[in-house]
């Protein structure tokens, strides 16, 4: 089978492979492995070579090394910050290469399994060993506090449902406390983000279309998505006008709550970690901080913050396909959090929160909705 990249990604690969690796210093995979090929430049040159040898048995996108490279990336987009090469957006290239690898039948077993489990409505509760669970109980609890005909649909996403069910419940409490009635889709269906990360583009598009079309037909006006990677996927699949990351919505709602300043207790310092999907892919940097300030917190910044933030290593299925590299990402991030000296850290991603909790003994870790729900509920707003 001859597999090639879409024209725009073919150009991107060629250009990236001709760059002096200007993004090397910010690529977390490279920072962990120090291997010259484990950075966008290295991946891109393998992609160019793969296209050249496509159609040769065991070569092209079926080659083991190409698949390995394609999945040695969390699609965290750190490389996009310093990159000025016209036409190069590395996550787009990675997703295109993974699709080619999937089409060539060479996707790693862990990625194929993840796509299958997600399509079956299961969510990942733990990485090592992978544990997939049915989230019906959490979704049911959330639905019990929802308003069926509300114009706002809350989509927790696989990450939040699997890794941190408490954050999902907190999302409902936070929205309620901030006066935003919401509805919930039951049972949980995957938006296709896992399939996209695995390379199953057909499955990814179909799942996103089903969710977006279903919501529109049901009269939903806004879809608040808690898991940033799901929001990224739905944005890419045409949902930009209706899909809003929950962290952004919480920030906007909290900011507009006039009572907060007067009611705020003595400010407590919390470190805030910008999830890569939220800050870089979706540009939601100010809103989570607004939410935290409205909740009475003083935000402590990490060394790498906003668009320069570090990835926790949970994105792009990295923790399933390359757990050791993902662990390296997490170590680097955890060190930065520790360096702040903060006793409490909040992040806008439930998956990141779950990972950080495991890496930061003695530090209280919360997902943003948990921090917001706790603050507003304690003021009698919930």
């Amino acid at each position: 089978m001859t597999t090639t990249l879409p024209a725009a990604q073919h150009v991107a690969a060629e250009r990236c492979a001709s760059c002096p690796k200007m993004c090397r210093g910010v690529c977390p995979t490279h920072e962990v492995t120090r291997n010259e090929r484990h950075q966008p430049w290295g991946h891109a040159r393998e992609d160019v070579a793969a296209e050249r040898s496509s159609g040769v048995a065991g070569a092209g996108f079926a080659a083991e090394a190409v698949a390995e490279s394609a999945f040695l990336c969390a699609t965290c987009a750190a490389c996009t910050v310093p990159c000025e090469v016209e036409g190069v957006e590395t996550p787009d290239l990675v997703w295109a290469v993974r699709a080619a690898v999937w089409e060539a039948g060479a996707a790693p077993a862990a990625a194929v399994e993840a796509a299958a489990h997600a399509a079956a409505g299961l969510v990942l509760a733990a990485d090592d060993p992978p544990r997939w669970v049915d989230p019906s109980e959490t979704v049911g609890a959330l639905a019990a506090s929802s308003t069926p005909a509300a114009p706002l649909l809350l989509v927790p996403g696989c990450g939040a449902l699997g890794r941190r069910p408490g954050a999902v419940r907190a999302a409902g409490q936070a929205l309620a406390a901030l006066g935003a009635p919401f509805r919930v889709g039951t049972p949980h269906v995957c938006c296709g983000a896992v399939a996209r990360a695995a390379g199953d583009d057909v499955g990814a598009r179909a799942a996103a279309a089903a969710l977006l079309d279903g919501a529109r037909e049901a009269g939903v006006e806004t879809i608040a998505v808690q898991s940033p990677s799901c929001a990224v996927h739905l944005h890419r699949e045409g949902g930009t006008a209706v899909v809003v990351p929950l962290a952004r919505l919480l920030g906007e709602l909290a900011r507009s709550t006039e009572r907060t300043t007067a009611d705020a207790p003595a400010r407590q310092a919390v470190a805030y970690h910008d999830p890569c999907m939220l800050a870089r892919h979706l540009g939601a940097v100010d809103e989570p901080r607004s939410a935290l300030r409205a909740a009475g917190h003083e935000v402590v910044e990490l060394a790498r913050t906003g668009p320069a933030t570090r990835c926790s290593g949970r994105g792009g299925l990295l923790s399933l396909t390359n757990p050791r590299v993902a662990a390296g990402y997490l170590d680097l991030l955890a060190s930065e959090v520790r360096a702040t000296g903060a006793a409490r850290v909040v992040t806008g991603c439930a998956t990141c929160a779950a990972a950080l909790e495991g890496a930061l003994a003695g530090v209280v870790v919360e997902e943003l909705a948990e921090a917001v729900a706790q603050a507003f509920a304690s003021r009698g707003d919930a």
Binding site: S18, P20, M22, E36, R37, E46, E84, V85
Partner: protein
């Protein structure tokens, strides 16, 4: 029995042990270090004719591990090529004779700050940007800003004798290097302690500057920092000609002025830069644009900028304000991105060549190189890195022909440019090193005696002949 990289399997096993398991003979890992960013190699890659990879890659974490790798390789006469970030543009890191690539990126620690002296000691694999960020966080700067700063290493700076964009004030890496540790190819260590200056015989630190792995590997460098300047005063000028700009800069340098930034673009380069810097290219047609920054204590920087302005005006310069310089800084590392955009096109040939000459010869070198290249490709040039006795000329050429003829065209252009520089009395390299690109012209540069000394040094320091044996030797790839 040989492994897949052509090395003896037992040797690979011992090497792997020597670097605590951080070694690979996987084809993909070896291919990634088969060359640096020498455009000749990139053009070959583009045409599906990549250079052959080495037999293995090792990632030492300490000087002791580097020494162990050298000892093992020396015993088996296996070449060892140090590799930092692979951003060199002259092929110095190409493992021409295969063997082992010594990837130094795990040796990236900041070992010590001595801010009383203004020194920082680092391992060679640290990225320049990371070091600069760490220094600036302490109120200091290395003052070394090559356009590859975000992606190149201190080891590479030393190995190729790099210079940064502000070198006119802060010097090249030669001037920033206070001391070093190196491991020779027989595994022995050399420690040349950091000193402000020394008269104790020949300066052996300089032996390793520009050594490109031929004398062993620098495993630690102590570099001079300077306190972050309190002020920066920017000014741009339009000079009536490139020659007038050269005259102005000569006058300024001889007067003892040391602006941090000096970039004088020839008329063709001025036309290219104008749009990016908020200037009217049409109005500047035929002029040479000069960008300057003076740094330091505010009153000193302001006074220096005033003097510099007077010197420029005496050569007919028209002041253009500080806007063009302020627009330049955010784009200071952008050249790499332009190269990435153009190089993939079939048949495309693009590169930069940096040379230097004394003031009296600069115009002749500029004319000679342009005469040889400009009729074949679009060629433009800027002057930077000023000294009391001369400056660097930085040529860029871009164009192309057929894909089949691209490597030949590239090699021919380099040959022509080097011949032109030698003929006009310049030096063939300023700050990208010699590598493979300039190997054929080292004789013209150093003369018979110089080449002989270099060869003797090499034999003395590397009796096994394993220390990057391909570098500086003309080779048909």
């Amino acid at each position: 029995m040989a492994d897949e990289g052509g090395l003896d399997a037992a040797l690979v096993e011992r090497l792997t042990e020597a670097v605590s398991g951080a070694a690979s003979t996987a084809v993909a890992d070896r291919e990634a270090v088969a060359h640096d960013l020498w455009p000749y190699a990139l053009i070959r890659d583009r045409g599906g004719r990549p250079l052959p990879p080495p037999g293995a890659v090792v990632w030492p974490s300490s000087a002791a591990e580097v020494a162990a790798v050298y000892r093992l390789c020396a015993a088996s006469s296996i070449p060892v090529t140090p590799f930092g970030a692979g951003t060199g543009v002259c092929g110095a890191a190409v493992p021409v004779h295969g063997g082992v690539v010594l990837d130094l990126k795990r040796m990236d620690r900041i070992v010590d700050w001595d801010l009383e002296a203004g020194w920082v000691t680092v391992e060679p694999g640290i990225l320049g940007q990371r070091l600069e960020d760490a220094a600036q966080a302490r109120g200091w700067s290395l003052g070394h800003f090559p356009s590859s700063l975000p992606c190149s290493t201190v080891g590479g700076f030393v190995a190729t004798r790099s210079a940064g964009q502000l070198s006119t004030r802060y010097g090249r890496i030669d001037d920033r290097l206070a001391g070093l540790r190196a491991v020779l190819s027989d595994g022995r260590h050399v420690h040349l302690r950091a000193q402000p200056a020394t008269g104790a015989g020949p300066d052996l630190r300089r032996l390793f500057l520009g050594s490109e792995g031929a004398f062993g590997t620098v495993v630690e460098a102590t570099l001079r920092l300077h306190p972050l300047p309190a002020a920066r005063v920017d000014a741009a000028y339009a000079l009536p000609s490139f020659a007038a700009g050269i005259a102005a800069l000569r006058e300024a340098m001889l007067a003892g002025l040391r602006p941090a930034l000096v970039r004088l673009y020839d008329p063709d380069d001025t036309a290219l830069q104008a749009g990016h810097l908020g200037l009217d290219a049409e109005r500047l047609r035929g002029f040479s644009l000069l960008l300057t920054s003076c740094e330091g204590r505010r009153r000193v920087a302001e006074a220096e900028a005033t003097e510099l302005g007077d010197v420029c005006r005496a050569q007919g310069a028209e002041p253009l304000g500080d806007g063009p310089v302020r627009a330049w800084y955010p784009r200071r590392f952008s050249l790499a991105f332009e190269l990435a955009r153009y190089l993939p096109a079939p048949g495309a040939v693009i590169d930069t060549i940096e040379v230097a000459a004394s003031w009296g010869r600069l115009s002749a070198v500029w004319q000679a190189v342009r005469t040889r290249l400009a009729h074949r490709l679009f060629t433009f040039c800027h002057l930077s890195h000023g000294y009391s006795d001369g400056a660097c000329l930085y040529f860029t050429f871009v164009g192309g022909g057929t894909e089949e003829g691209a490597t030949d065209l590239y090699a021919e252009l380099w040959r022509e440019a080097m011949d032109a520089v030698v003929g006009a009395g310049g030096t063939i390299a300023h700050h990208h090193g010699a590598g493979l690109a300039r190997a054929a012209h080292l004789h013209a540069e150093l003369g018979e005696g110089g080449v002989d000394v270099l060869r003797r040094l090499r034999r003395a320091l590397d009796p096994a002949g394993i220390a990057n044996p391909g570098v500086w030797e003309p080779v048909a790839l």
